[in-house]
Symmetry: C2
Subunit: 136 residues, 2 copies
């Protein structure tokens, strides 16, 4: 099948399919005599895999590293487990950071409600956003 059909069955735009090829996510396909890319079912499966992996928060580079292992003949399970563990740690850290930010924002919003815009001076730019509240 040609790239347009693969795009239809996989749900990725043709541009994205070519882009994935440059990133090593799809193998260089065989070409028809006129230079058109030729794909098969396996390529569609691979695109599904990529989408699933992206859903799990993996970057294209990480997904490429998994695929490289598989193409080298190694079962990538171990590597996948490591990636998932690291990703979980990463996600937990980001959640924690966002939690801190949420607290900070709530404080600033409360403060904004208690301050009078009349008191906001030119030098402050805006007095709501002043000190990095030393309460923490």
């Amino acid at each position: 099948m040609r790239i347009g059909e693969l795009a239809t069955v996989s749900g990725h735009p043709t541009r994205t399919i070519r882009f994935y090829e440059t990133r090593g996510l799809l193998p260089e396909p065989t070409r028809t005599t006129n230079g058109y890319r030729e794909y098969n079912e396996g390529d569609s499966d691979r695109l599904d895999f990529i989408r699933n992996a992206q859903t799990a928060g993996l970057t294209l580079a990480e997904i490429a590293s998994i695929i490289r292992l598989r193409d080298d003949g190694t079962a990538p399970c171990r590597h996948v487990n490591e990636l998932l563990d690291a990703k979980l740690v990463d996600v937990q850290e980001r959640i924690a950071q966002l939690g801190v930010l949420r607290t900070e924002l709530n404080q600033l919003i409360r403060r904004g409600r208690s301050l009078d815009p009349e008191d906001c001076t030119v030098n402050d730019i805006c007095h709501i956003l002043r000190p990095p509240d030393r309460t923490c």
Copy 2:
């Protein structure tokens, strides 16, 4: 004071100070006869403000919009309140999304521990990352 000194007192690299100027966060400074930028205390205060606003999760573009209002002679408090409200919503959404992702990752990790790498086939690439678990 020249840019190097402002860099020292503000804690921002000179490159960043020039960069902020291009983004409208700092006014175009006066120049000495040889073309060097001349700064004063107010510029240092403004850099402090920028840092505080960044701590609150505002982007440079948003901070610039606040500064523009102030420079136009309008107290930006109202606008700041709106930005902070929107940012809080945004942060809460991201936390929720990351929560979903964390759940997904935990499921995948548990799954990875229960699957045998021996069963991982070439077609799967890796069987751990298979279906977008329809359990949700």
